[in-house]
Assembly symmetry: C2
């Protein structure tokens, strides 16, 4: 037991699926030297127990014209529970917002914003983000390059 309920085989399955979820049970079974039935049962449980949340396709953002990724650091005026929740709720509705994190430290939230280009980011900022009440400042930093990009957690 390395990780709660999970043994080494579960961990290996999760590693493989984080990298390539289109592997068949047969392929996994031969990689891990276990039977197909075992792999099938393990994966069923891993999904049922919520270790695997979802299976998704990762797109090439350049090819779909999401050329600009920004990290927007947001500072709010007030930090009451109500204003925090209101901000989170409203900002999550914008489809340019891929991720929203409440943070420790110098800023209250970091947003990951995906847009076609700077013009679209500018519009997002003026017409969407900056219209939300209770914002003090937004500092925008833009991605120049992405030397490493993974959705897989180290386990």
């Amino acid at each position: 037991m390395i990780l709660g309920d999970l043994d080494k085989i579960d961990i290996e399955i999760l590693r493989l699926l984080q990298d390539d979820a289109s592997l068949t049970n047969k392929e996994i079974s031969s990689k891990l030297h276990k039977s197909i039935a075992t792999i099938h049962e393990r994966i069923r449980k891993l999904k049922e127990q919520g270790y695997i949340k979802r299976i998704v396709a990762i797109l090439d953002r350049k090819k779909i014209n999401r050329n600009l990724i920004a990290f927007s650091h947001v500072l709010l005026k007030e930090h009451t529970a109500a204003t925090l929740i209101a901000f989170e709720t409203e900002v999550s509705k914008f489809n340019e917002v891929m991720e929203c994190f409440q943070m420790t430290g110098a800023h209250d939230f970091i947003l990951r914003i995906a847009t076609r280009d700077m013009e679209e980011y500018h519009e997002f900022l003026r017409n969407k983000l900056a219209t939300l009440p209770n914002i003090t400042t937004v500092q925008s930093y833009f991605v120049l390059s992405e030397p490493k990009s993974h959705t897989a957690y180290p386990i």
Copy 2:
């Protein structure tokens, strides 16, 4: 043609698969009112042409004890091509580093770091990140909560 080579059906397929790549061709075909063979052929091309980079499992990070996510803002001393590449190469080798972005603005790189807890982050910082040459400062910000978390690009 909304997006280069892609028509509305391709876009819809990409939307669906970004959300749930375990949909069968049959399910997609009935959602989009096209034949299974058409959907199959479209997806084959979307993969071949590189729109779909990979299919991955997204895990519940709390359940696998990656409880702490940090955004580490790194400032380097020098910005020659060689030192930038050296930094990118070395930092990408650390498995705690899920993503590495070269940025415009106040800092050179933003790293997304996943660790079990603050102690493990501290070890990562002392024994790995801070040992790299050419670093001036590392500012660490930690995720308190994740109100929105998506891998899907708006298309």
